[in-house]
């Protein structure tokens, strides 16, 4: 795993009255334990990876509480796992990244929500929305609405988040419906504190198992004809029950304000940024006291009609603040007010944009727009508009002064084993021409950025091969699908490989076997060398492919660019029809370096012999064309001013962060670039023979008129 969570694990052990300090997503983890869960599971992904990562490292805490932890192979498995709460009084929680994970889980979610649950079932969804996001922007809200799952969207401070988790389980049990708790990326990583409670052992768990299955009840199945009864139950019983629970428990908040003829309805997750915007406009203080009345929806779905009507009654206008589109809440409020014949004007999209992240500047602008339109009494609206306008102007003038700056997208790490594969694909394209590249989710999608710019489509995690199914038969050349080992086990083995074989396709599949789900923080997966328990999971991609019936299969060490190039050309040119799989084998360099650093530090301390390699470029030989950079893209391979007074173009250089993977040398060779690259091998703690050989070479080369080192070893 990418990092150690020992401090976070300690914080999971805090007892009643002690103060938890840490980030939001770990606070959720602690809240789960305080709620007495019997099982936890999920599939990793930003921004919720830490929830599982912490638990994986907290084996003793889980054992003590009897909590079962499942690191699921995909989100569908995680959602299906909640099925335990349909028949048994077991509280359980699963987590994944949304919207993508929710899409994958959708089938199980429908079939979970229909019969409903008797044990509290919670889904923690991390919204990877806005700056730094890696998925398409769609609202998880739609899933909650269509399936009848209650959606919590707490204010982004730790006490509220923790309370929402605890009350969410109660809500789920009281209404027999599963609950989603939505956290945006910044809320997952927000730091704060809350007063902890003792962790709770569940009544039934691994420590106290249930005697046997319940008596057979057809009503617990999502299967006709009971689905019709369940459909009615969802809207006629569970929904009103949820609305009652939310109202009685006061899950939503009302902040009073003296500007009583207007109001703001805001989703909990956005409430702090709205309060800050009001503070900056002089309408709130730093402690959350606002002049504008605010209705904070810590429960985004369902809306409680009485609460909304009560809030809007007597107001000329309200602003609804919800990020993304469609404007579900704005529409719902319109309908509720119409039904109650309340004439309050509802503003929302229009003042605020339909698309894009609601950053500080966007909210400030939107609020100013709302005030200008609604003109509440007792407020100098023009002064506010002027203030917002000045900030906007400031932004525009700063942007104009700088001009367009080049983006800095993420890229493959130094020494990444996946990069050489794309170097080889680029070289292959030079020889046989371009072909369709079906990209996938994972670190390898960085190949879509410069300098590779490879990839024609991305259809989802593990979907690359399936997404090329109709491309191959319609294109001159065989398409190449790229898939990580993470994507392979997530679903690519079935949707991609089995589907391709079943339909006798003729494509090329490259599987990046780096041993972890690296992009999400190097979690273990079925073909990892070791699992969270330490023992190898024992599943093997090559054997799996063979058993499925893949005939053309090559395993190539990724750093061997020439080999990879030859294998690619063979796969593209061979007359043999059928699926051609290349397993690009090379351990994630981040994980490898973490291991090596410890090993090497140990060796150095022990005085054991150690050879370290690093690469370099001869300034004098490099002519500053940068072909090497265009073929490698390594962060450690960069440029520096040309030391030659006659030349102006910067020369290539290898910086200190080089891990000696050898790609630059390989590329220089495979592409016949230039003779400027060299490798230095330094022997730390040399033995007698190393010293002798070095001294001898030094002496002879000295006779020949050269000089290696000052002193002869």
């Amino acid at each position: 795993m990418e990092r150690s969570f020992s401090r976070e694990v300690d914080s999971l052990k805090l007892g009643a009255g002690e103060i938890f300090r840490g980030e939001g997503i770990v606070a959720v983890t602690k809240a789960l334990l305080q709620s007495g869960v019997s099982y936890v599971g999920g599939y990793q992904g930003a921004p919720v990876s830490h929830l599982l990562d912490v638990l994986v490292q907290a084996e003793d805490v889980l054992e003590d509480l009897g909590v079962h932890l499942e690191t699921c192979t995909n989100e569908a498995a995680a959602a299906a796992m909640l099925g335990a709460s349909i028949n048994y009084p077991l509280r359980g929680a699963v987590t994944w990244k949304s919207i993508v994970g929710t899409n994958v889980a959708a089938d199980a979610l429908s079939n979970l929500a229909s019969p409903g649950v008797i044990g509290g079932a919670m889904i923690i969804i991390g919204e990877d929305y806005g700056e730094g996001a890696s998925v398409i922007q769609e609202r998880s809200y739609a899933f909650a609405m269509k399936s009848g799952i209650w959606l919590l969207d707490p204010r982004p401070d730790l006490p509220t988040i923790v309370a929402c988790v605890e009350q969410g389980f109660e809500l789920s049990e009281a209404t027999h419906a599963p609950v989603m708790l939505e956290l945006r990326i910044r809320a997952c990583h927000v730091t704060g504190e809350f007063e902890a409670k003792d962790n709770r052992r569940a009544v039934y768990s691994g420590l106290n198992r249930i005697a046997g299955p319940p008596p057979f009840r057809y009503g617990r199945l999502a299967h006709p004809p009971v689905t019709f009864a369940q459909e009615r139950c969802k809207v006629e019983e569970r929904l009103p029950a949820a609305q009652t629970f939310i109202r009685e428990r006061r899950l939503n908040e009302f902040l009073d304000g003296d500007l009583s003829d207007i109001g703001i309805v805001v989703l909990g997750g956005l409430a702090h940024n709205v309060l800050r915007a009001l503070e900056r406009l002089g309408l709130a203080d730093i402690f959350g006291a606002s002049r504008v009345p605010i209705h904070v929806l810590n429960v985004a779905y369902p809306l409680v009609p009485d609460e909304v009507r009560g809030f809007c009654l007597g107001k000329r206008a309200v602003l609804v603040v919800e990020e993304g589109y469609p404007d579900y809440i704005e529409q719902a409020i319109q309908v509720e007010l119409r039904r109650a014949a309340i004439q309050t004007s509802v503003y929302g999209k229009g003042c605020l944009p339909k698309a894009g992240e609601y950053t500080s500047a966007v909210l400030l602008d939107g609020l100013a727009g709302f005030f200008s339109a609604a003109r509440p009494s007792g407020l100098d609206v023009d002064a506010i508009a002027e203030r917002a306008g000045a900030l906007q102007a400031q932004k525009e003038s700063a942007a104009a002064a700088l001009g367009e700056l080049p983006a800095r997208p993420p890229t493959f790490c130094t020494g990444c084993p996946e990069r050489p594969v794309f170097s080889a694909i680029k070289l292959m394209e030079r020889e046989i021409g371009k072909t369709h590249i079906s990209a996938d989710i994972g670190c390898h999608s960085f190949a879509t950025f410069a300098p590779f710019s490879l990839g024609n489509s991305i259809l989802g995690y593990g979907m690359s091969l399936a997404s090329a199914a109709a491309v191959g038969p319609n294109l001159e050349r065989r398409p190449i699908a790229i898939m990580g080992d993470g994507g392979f086990w997530h679903n690519g083995v079935i949707t991609g490989v089995a589907g391709h074989l079943f339909n006798a396709g003729d494509g090329v599949l490259i599987i990046m076997q780096n041993g972890y789900t690296s992009a999400t923080g190097q979690q273990a997966m079925p073909s990892s060398a070791s699992s969270r328990t330490g023992s190898p999971p024992g599943m093997n991609i090559e054997k799996t492919l063979r058993s499925l019936g893949v005939k053309w299969l090559r395993k190539v060490r990724t750093y061997g660019v020439a080999d990879m190039l030859a294998t690619l050309k063979e796969a593209m040119r061979t007359a043999e029809r059928g699926l051609k799989v290349i397993i690009a084998d090379g351990e994630c360099q981040l994980a490898r370096q973490r291991r090596l650093r410890t090993e090497e530090a140990g060796k150095l301390a022990r005085g054991a012999r150690l050879v370290r390699a690093r690469y370099g470029v001869d300034d004098e030989i490099c002519t500053g064309d940068h072909s090497c950079i265009r073929l490698s893209g390594c962060p450690s391979l960069t440029v520096k001013p040309n030391p030659d007074p006659l030349r102006t173009d910067p020369v290539a250089t290898v910086i200190e962060s080089c891990v000696g993977c050898g790609l630059c040398g390989e590329v220089a060779h495979a592409a016949v670039l230039c003779p400027s690259f060299y490798r230095v091998e330094i022997i730390r703690n040399p033995n007698f023979f190393d010293r002798l050989l070095f001294a001898w070479r030094n002496r002879v080369i000295g006779w020949l008129g050269g000089r290696i080192a000052e002193a002869g070893g």
Partner: protein, 507 residues
């Protein structure tokens, strides 16, 4: 009047330890009893991509708030940032461009160090952004700024850049937290404590000391090889603007071949010098032509590569750069992949001609290359390079040498002819030599681009079919286009556009 939190925005690159840095800041605030909150956007975007961290600290101890809790925001606001800290110059510029730096409020502390983005690195010529432009924009927008090389301070301290940044935060005085508490946060973490404290101290001192924005450039090591006194005298008569370049050219060519080759250089320059004076170019034409002529005459053949690999002092230079400890044995492995072209280049013209004809006739032969990884610090490896280097005396009789001299003469003739029209056109033509560089495919591509520009713009211009003003512009844009992409798409488009406006050649 309610208190106002202090807003700290940190712009950094993934992998620089920004998460640890914000952790230190939060820990220090907690030690001081101040309510604080940090947030960040980690995830895949962190893998060396641009990222930000955001911290809010209330400068009033929690104990004095009477149980009230501040509401902190998750996003920085335009006009609201008190301290912008950037680990890299472009990232500081990005934060300024996004509007987060305002003259009434923001203290900017940024590293002058550049970590080039791919777009800058992969350009075929020089794609780097103008640092001065960034520095100017940052300083103009900021209320106050301190720009210094954090990367260098980190390297000197043996710490990560985040420790230097923490020191800078402490030294800025923007936060009401004494430096000892930040140090205590580092100690509490318990990782690389000594190095991090050194980095912290360096960052703190740099902010307080008002380090100049632009550190003086390193003095270039221009250890001159023997320059013949006579040649130096000849050079002394040259115009100021060109003197340094010509001297460098002379040194270069003596080392590359011999004194008489350097004399040839001066003879070749004589015509240019005359044209420079005649057209009133003020030495600029001479300087540019001299620069490119020296580079063209010291073309990159295998002999030159061997010369460079065995350059006295190279092994020691590499050992120093790679931090080889005293008494530590090391080896250097050189990557070479000569092909038919390289082999032919050191043969006499007739033999080389036959070989090249064969390689054209049999393309497989033309693609033949020998991949070699030669250990130049071993005795046999050293001897291989020695042998290659010894071919220096044989060089004037090689095929490549003859071919290069012909090409150089043709290029000089073009410059001279262009100078008849205008000095600017002559300078543009001289500049085109920049396209011819590198080895193997790179060299072939560059030469082909040069010839395309020569045939399709320079010659028609010299023949008077393109007006001078337009020709100057056309040559410059074609050159830029040739350096825009390796596939030649930009150049092809540019040449087509230029030709569309050029009368066809007679006949």
């Amino acid at each position: 009047m309610s208190p106002r939190p202090i807003h700290l925005l940190i712009a950094a690159l993934g992998g620089e330890g920004g998460g640890v840095l914000t952790g230190w800041v939060i820990a220090a605030a907690a030690r001081h009893g101040l309510p604080a909150q940090s947030t960040s956007i980690p995830g895949v975007a962190q893998r060396t991509g641009a990222t930000t961290y955001y911290v809010e600290i209330l400068p009033v101890p929690a104990a004095e708030l009477g149980g009230r809790r501040p509401v902190f925001a998750l996003h920085p606001g335009i006009g609201d940032v008190d301290l912008l800290l950037a680990s890299e110059l472009l990232e500081a510029g990005r934060a300024v461009g996004a509007g987060f730096v305002t003259p009434d409020r923001t203290f900017v502390i940024a590293s002058t160090h550049r970590f080039f983005v791919m777009e800058e690195k992969m350009a075929m010529g020089d794609g780097r952004l103008d640092d001065a432009h960034l520095v100017h924009a940052i300083e103009r927008q900021a209320k106050q700024s301190r720009l210094f090389d954090m990367e260098r301070l980190a390297a000197q301290s043996g710490s990560m850049v985040n420790a230097v940044m923490l020191g800078a935060i402490a030294g800025s005085g923007v936060l009401p937290i004494p430096p000892e508490l930040f140090e205590a946060a580092i100690r509490q973490d318990g990782k690389a404590v000594e190095a991090n404290l050194r980095g912290f101290g360096a960052g703190l001192a740099a902010v307080r000391r008002r380090v100049p924005a632009r550190p003086a450039a390193d003095e270039q090591d221009r250890a001159a090889s023997a320059t013949d006194a006579v040649l130096a005298k000849a050079a002394a008569e040259l115009p100021d603007a060109a003197r340094e370049i010509v001297l460098e050219g002379i040194r270069r060519l003596i080392k590359y071949q011999d004194v008489s080759y350097a004399q040839l250089y001066l003879r070749r320059l004589a015509n240019i010098r005359e044209a420079d004076a005649r057209t009133g170019a003020g030495g600029k034409l001479l300087r540019e032509a001299a620069r490119h002529l020296a580079l063209r005459m010291s073309f990159e053949d295998v002999i030159r590569v061997a010369q460079a690999k065995l350059d006295p002092g190279r092994f020691a230079r590499i050992a120093k750069a790679m931090h080889v400890g005293p008494g530590e044995p090391f080896a250097i492995v050189e990557f070479l992949k000569p092909g038919i072209d390289e082999l032919a280049s050191v043969l006499p013209p007739r033999l080389a001609g036959a070989m090249l004809w064969l390689s054209r006739r049999f393309p497989r032969l033309g693609r033949l290359h020998w991949g070699m990884a030669v250990r130049s610090t071993s005795i046999t490896g050293y001897l291989q390079f020695r042998l290659l280097r010894a071919l220096k005396r044989w060089r004037p009789r090689t095929h490549r040498f003859r071919a290069e001299q012909q090409a150089i003469e043709a290029w000089l003739a073009r410059i001279a002819a262009a100078a008849e029209i205008s000095a600017d056109l002559a300078i543009e033509v001289a500049e085109c030599a920049r396209l011819i560089k590198g080895y193997g495919d790179t060299h072939k591509r560059g030469s082909a681009n040069y010839f395309a520009i020569d045939t399709r713009i320079i010659r028609p211009a010299l023949a008077g079919r393109i007006p001078a003003a337009r020709a100057i512009d056309a040559v410059a844009s074609a050159r830029t286009a040739a350096l825009a992409d390796a596939e030649g798409e930009n150049l092809a488009r540019c040449l087509a556009e230029i030709e569309a406006g050029t009368p066809a050649a007679p006949g």
